[in-house]
Symmetry: C2
Subunit: 269 residues, 2 copies
């Protein structure tokens, strides 16, 4: 048993798709979330800059005595293996859980991965998938317009520009006949209805943020480190830009019924 909070961070609000699933799966856990809204997005930046921001995010969560850190940011997750220093705490990204789910789901050994430019450039999904099964073909595609579409509310399958970009980005996935598609950026589940329509019903979509939450459930249960309380856990959400702007987005992503405390964090930017 361990009543410390689970730490979660993302470049902004996309990681709330992981928090949502954590609340479902582990309702008694305290959660401390950091969204680096003053420097979002990470996905178009260089590896060096992403790692430098990630170190600060991890440091902030460590100061809250969390028991584990979940990197609910596809971009940071894809550079974690390049960060050689020991963070002194368990830090887990979305790549391994998403790959595990995708490898279990594929029947034709063709997996697609859509994500930010930085993630696709890192090639990490291909590497991890091939280490599990070298027979699997991996097709990666960067979708740089998806984050702005989600952040500005253009997510409906009936929205012409959203559909235009989805069709452009997913064409290669249809050509390559992938039967499983990893949503490697935690913003993308907000476009899953559209993506599903474009790809067709037979293609399994893997939400990397939700898979990370399942991983946390398994890990905490297996190591007997779940929280020892019967009431709902406390949700503390920190942002690096103004609470006001962040609150609007939290409602959009988590709904109005989440009882979360929102604060601006003291991270020195």
């Amino acid at each position: 048993m361990n009543n410390s909070a689970i730490g979660v961070f993302d470049s902004g609000i996309g990681g709330l798709t992981c928090v949502e699933e954590l609340i479902n799966l582990l309702p008694n856990e305290d959660i401390v979330y950091l969204g680096d809204t003053a420097r979002v997005p990470y996905g178009t930046r260089s590896r060096e800059t992403i790692m430098s921001y990630a170190r600060q995010d991890i440091e902030f969560l460590k100061q809250h005595n969390v028991k584990m850190i979940l990197v609910a940011c596809g971009t940071v997750s894809s550079v974690l293996s390049f960060m050689k220093e020991d963070p002194g705490i368990s830090v887990s990204g979305v790549v391994q859980p998403a790959v595990k789910a995708a490898c279990a789901a594929t029947k034709n050994n063709r997996i697609g991965i859509i994500a930010t430019s930085a993630t696709v450039k890192s090639g990490v999904y291909g590497k991890v998938i091939r280490s599990i099964n070298p027979e699997i073909k991996v097709v990666g595609k960067a979708c740089p317009m998806f984050v702005p579409l989600v952040e500005n509310g253009y997510t409906s399958p009936d929205c012409p520009p959203a559909r235009y970009f989805a069709e452009e980005y997913l064409e290669i996935m249809k050509e390559e006949e992938v039967d499983t598609l990893i949503l490697g950026c935690t913003h993308y589940p907000h476009l899953s209805e559209l993506i599903s329509q474009v790809m067709g019903d037979r293609v399994t979509l893997v939400s990397s943020g939700a898979e990370l939450a399942k991983y946390a459930l398994n890990t905490l249960t297996y190591s007997d480190s779940t929280a020892d309380r019967e009431e709902s856990g406390n949700i503390e959400l920190y942002c690096t830009d103004s609470e006001e702007l962040f609150s609007e987005n939290v409602e959009k992503f988590l709904g109005k019924n989440i009882n979360a405390k929102i604060s601006k964090c003291s991270l020195k930017l």
Copy 2:
């Protein structure tokens, strides 16, 4: 005469539309440009965060002993009047030059301003325009998808999503029959062909970055502070993220023929 460089900064690469015009108008001037590519965009952030970043940008340029600072960023320009401290150097934004040009151009006293959310929220264009002529009606509209479209190369008038967003954002401008439209974000001139098609030929587009360059020409000439040299000035471009990513974009924005030195700046983020 003053051979110090002109300092220019922007959140990223949009401000290069001002640099391009500076090179045309003042070819003998040295230019030091800073693009804060590790923290772009500014236009969706809070005023407090924008001012904090702007202070660091100004400090960096002052260390290069520039003779004046041009804020080639619509968003920072819109919060300059809220920064009460004395920067110890001449700092000029795009608002005044753009307003001057727009007020001279309008015939029906109806001016539109399209810009980032932060700029439109600041209300600064309306305030400055009304201080010049209270009869002028000002219509503001935030266009949050324009920067991602430009940064990802979707600028052609034939590009369906670019046209979709332009028609959505500019509808109010047509309804209100503005005859002059200020492009209040320095990215937007890359969409001017499309914007012009949507608005019609009779509407004058005012590029805020280009107007700022004209302002620099006038100010330096009037105060006899132009550079005393016959050869072309040196162009030094600094970015806060990797030079490699920045160089690709510089070529896209300034063309391959600009002889500029590109470096990563030492700004502590």
